[in-house]
Symmetry: C2
Subunit: 311 residues, 2 copies
């Protein structure tokens, strides 16, 4: 079946609302552990996540080869996670890796691909960035492609400016489907929502969930949602049912929860939390250059959080 | 034959002196063109280069998949370029790509591998960086491995500090064989030469060639040596034969030549120069995010250089 039209002839749905940037559990050889990955993703969906972004920054996506990412994505789909809730991180410094992985991710049914700008070179111009994304779209030549622009300048050192986004949307309407904006800049997010009504705008943190929804955006994709999904979903639902005061109060709690995790290196902190909450050692491992949280800091983290409210 | 001992029972030679960070020519589909790549590398050696570093920053190494890099390396070796003059850039944000490519490069006979720190994440600690390089060494488990640490903080955003280098040398003596230092910091380079006599220190620019040789270093690996190799070699040889004044005068000219190219985006400028000098359109193409030099700037570049002195 042509993905562009589903059984009822309408456009396929894209994941909106609360999305977790799923962590990737791994064994002592640093290979992904599918069993735990699949279980974690099912648990996130059961806890209220509308969708999952796998192999983003939180999922240590760029620390894995294209083949490793694809194999884990396939395991997820085989386990019954529906493709329509999945965005797959396919960013790489190499155009040909991003193309190959994006093609495969679309082929196996992921709703969209989350694409970093090529992140090795610095001081690159908009022409080069446009060409990168354009090559991805053109080389796939697949009308099912829904490409999300992944803006995270504090890590990539690359700015995806509004003129660039505008040019891409004009060149590839419908294909350039969304953006994950991890700039933390609510003004920019609000502008994106206003200027580009056809773009699905997702904030990179659940701290901005309510503001983003109120600004016309579609939700968030967040690292900390790996453990805050239930509360994040309540914020979303309160907003959706027009309970403004309740949404605001819940958002305040959610923002506080996020802040107490963000005081630590986020990915090591989240893996440490998962290890405590699940008692599974697959959460103890990170691919270098990321390192485990030191014991003393881990104690501080765990003692400062309402563990029963998490997951 | 065990590479650690050659026919005469001595340690294998590593490339020292003037090394070009070879450019990668590509066709309109942005695939490497082996014919032109091989011819360029032979020309560089004929022009006086002691060695070649392929798929470094200048060779757009991180813009190619591991397979693409390996295939081009193999074409080079098959063309008769001796492995002992070759360093292969195997840097990637993914440990498993760097491991796979490094293993293959050593297997086909490259003298060494030039390894970037994993360059996606920022604010990483020495423990994570140590683990990355240690995993590469341990996973290869090949005593033929000669690993060069590639320090280029202005692009990677990562500092390979002296305590880290010291720790790696202690853990893997003989295997951690050298460093390309593109910091441009002559004080750091001199310190590396003094503190780590077993490390082959190569400056990232021929502007520092004479100073590096005088400081006890082994030479340079440089982008602009793609077109300045003859002059760079003369600096090297004048120094080697104790002609200090001549070496100094030649270094001055070399530094000026480098500066007139460095005023432009270096990789696009070098490719534009190669296109003019060889009249071969394979030099017109760059992988995104790099872009061609604009026509006006290209004219300025070409009119400001003594083209007959280049190549």
């Amino acid at each position: 079946m042509d993905r562009k039209e589903n059984a009822s002839g309408s456009e396929p749905t894209l994941p909106k609302g609360v999305l977790a940037a799923a962590l990737t559990p791994m064994d002592q050889d640093l290979a992904p552990v599918y069993r735990a990955f699949v279980a974690h993703c099912h648990r996130l969906l059961a806890a209220g996540c509308h969708g999952l972004a796998v192999f983003g920054t939180t999922g240590e996506g760029t620390s894995f080869t294209a083949d490793e990412r694809l194999a884990a994505l396939e395991a997820l789909l085989e386990s019954g996670v529906p493709g329509e809730v999945l965005l797959c991180g396919t960013g790489s410094s190499a155009l040909t890796d991003t193309v190959r992985l994006s093609r495969a991710a679309v082929g196996v049914g992921a709703a969209g691909v989350l694409v970093l700008p090529p992140f090795y070179y610095k001081d690159v111009d908009d022409e080069g960035l446009f060409r990168f994304f354009a090559e991805v779209v053109e080389r796939l030549g697949d009308e099912r492609l829904r490409l999300y622009l992944y803006h995270i300048p504090q890590i990539t050192g690359i700015n995806l400016g509004l003129p660039l986004i505008s040019r891409l949307l004009e060149a590839y309407p419908g294909v350039i489907a969304g953006t994950k904006d991890s700039s933390g800049d609510m003004e920019r997010i609000a502008t994106l929502c206003k200027e580009f009504p056809d773009l699905s705008v997702l904030a990179g943190s659940e701290s901005l969930l309510l503001d983003t929804l109120r600004g016309g955006g579609d939700g968030c994709i967040s690292a900390t949602v790996n453990v805050t999904s239930r509360l994040a979903r309540r914020v979303h639902d309160a907003h959706a049912s027009g309970k403004d005061d309740e949404a605001e109060a819940l958002q305040k709690r959610l923002t506080q929860l996020r802040a107490s995790i963000e005081a630590y290196p986020v990915i090591p902190a989240l893996k440490r939390l998962m290890a405590s909450l699940t008692d599974d050692e697959v959460w103890c491992n990170l691919r270098p250059p990321l390192s485990r949280l030191e014991d003393k800091r881990a104690e501080d983290l765990l003692s400062g959080l309402p563990l029963s409210e998490l997951l």
